[in-house]
């Protein structure tokens, strides 16, 4: 260590005192840099029906994290759904299983679940922004099913939330994620910013 004085805690935070050997050692242990690694970001200022993430580095990460901020467009409700690409082929059959809880500031709560659905419903809005986070598990592992958990916070006519989980119960390599507005051709929104991260692993 070239630094003379109090030993810095390089795992805890980057204080800016490193030499090449430090960097090599920290990188090997997974301690160099942040652990939420941005894979891709897509921003739009117009309505679209589909957003595809097709380079998700599924061979590098067991866990992916996605954040989405979507501004409502006009017309019908803007939905936010998910589908997976398996080895480049979009899975559109009724194979997804979903279990979610919804609630509103108006006091309405409900269950929404499906055992054979053609997409995963995550968010929806008719008024303003929806903010969503999603964790994906084992997308790139061809011997495991692909899971996700999510939580959506929406300003609709009331404040609205939906949280839950879903699975594509097929042992396959998921190498892409599609966000879309629903099977009736709804748009996702009028503007949005969606980021996909990988959770660092050694």
């Amino acid at each position: 260590m070239s630094y003379i004085g109090t030993q810095p805690n390089n795992v805890k935070e980057n204080i800016g005192l490193y030499n090449p050997n430090d960097i090599t050692a920290l990188t090997k242990d997974g301690h160099w840099g942040g652990s939420l690694e941005l894979i891709a970001e897509q921003t739009f200022s117009t309505s679209v029906a589909n957003i595809d993430f097709t380079s998700i580095q599924e061979d590098k990460y067991d866990v992916h994290f996605m954040s989405a901020q979507v501004k409502f467009g006009s017309g019908n409700a803007d939905l936010l759904g998910l589908r997976f690409y398996e080895s480049g082929v979009l899975e559109t059959a009724g194979v997804y299983q979903i279990a979610t809880q919804t609630g509103t500031s108006g006091g309405s709560f409900g269950e929404a679940k499906q055992t054979a659905y053609s997409w995963i419903f995550v968010g929806e809005s008719t008024v303003d922004y929806q903010n969503v986070y999603i964790y994906f598990y084992n997308l790139g592992n061809s011997s495991k099913y692909s899971f996700c958990t999510f939580h959506a916070q929406v300003l609709d006519s009331d404040s609205f939330f939906r949280f839950g989980g879903a699975v594509l119960p097929q042992a396959s390599t998921v190498d892409g994620i599609r966000l879309f507005g629903g099977i009736s051709g709804e748009n996702i929104g009028s503007a949005f910013d969606i980021k996909l991260y990988g959770m660092k692993q050694i």
Binding site: N9, E13, V63, A99, T100, F147, A171
Partner: protein
């Protein structure tokens, strides 16, 4: 650069008790644990316990927890306890799922702060063969001010395998 910091990873196989020690420290106040591998070769529903700075698993009835179980194939269930020996339903299910694994994220708050209880929350989704998915959204607390440095997942059943990744949320002091 994100403020999340990978601390380390751990794994185990063919065991009923899985301990990760020396992962919580004074470096961070908030931790995130990802369960990325869970092979269930026998009936297993795992509870979480914390490990104190002496390396002992805390199994006293000082845990309180509450969860909503979300199921694709049936009605949702409320579970809770104000005095339990673990925080239940971290992973697993009542049926074996050797092929499907699980997905789980756990957050732990102030584990080493000896003036605060150790709080946690988690969300997961599990596959039940012949039924569908069952997941949890849950909260929990260890109602002691012991300094907590690790965690344990245990059951009377046997895990085929388990793998966890541990992260700290950077703080600037």
């Amino acid at each position: 650069m994100s403020n999340l910091r990978l601390i380390n990873e751990s794994s185990g196989s063919s065991l009923s008790s899985y301990s990760v020690q020396d992962v919580f420290s004074s470096d961070y106040d908030i931790y995130q644990i990802e369960i990325t591998e869970f092979q269930q070769t026998a009936t297993f529903s795992g509870g979480m316990r914390f490990i104190n700075s002496s390396g002992s698993v805390i199994s006293s009835s000082d845990y309180a927890w509450a969860r909503l179980s979300l199921r694709s194939y049936g009605s949702f269930i409320d579970d809770k306890s104000t005095s339990d020996s673990d925080i239940q339903y971290i992973v697993g299910s009542a049926t074996t799922s050797p092929l499907s694994s699980t997905g789980a994220s756990i957050w732990v708050f102030n584990p080493t702060n000896s003036s605060s209880y150790t709080f946690m929350m988690f969300q997961n989704v599990n596959w039940l063969v012949g039924s569908g998915i069952a997941g949890s959204k849950a909260i929990g607390v260890l109602k002691t001010t012991a300094s907590i440095t690790g965690f344990n997942i245990y059951s009377t059943g046997t895990m085929g395998s388990i793998k966890t990744k541990h992260y700290g949320l950077r703080v600037d002091s």
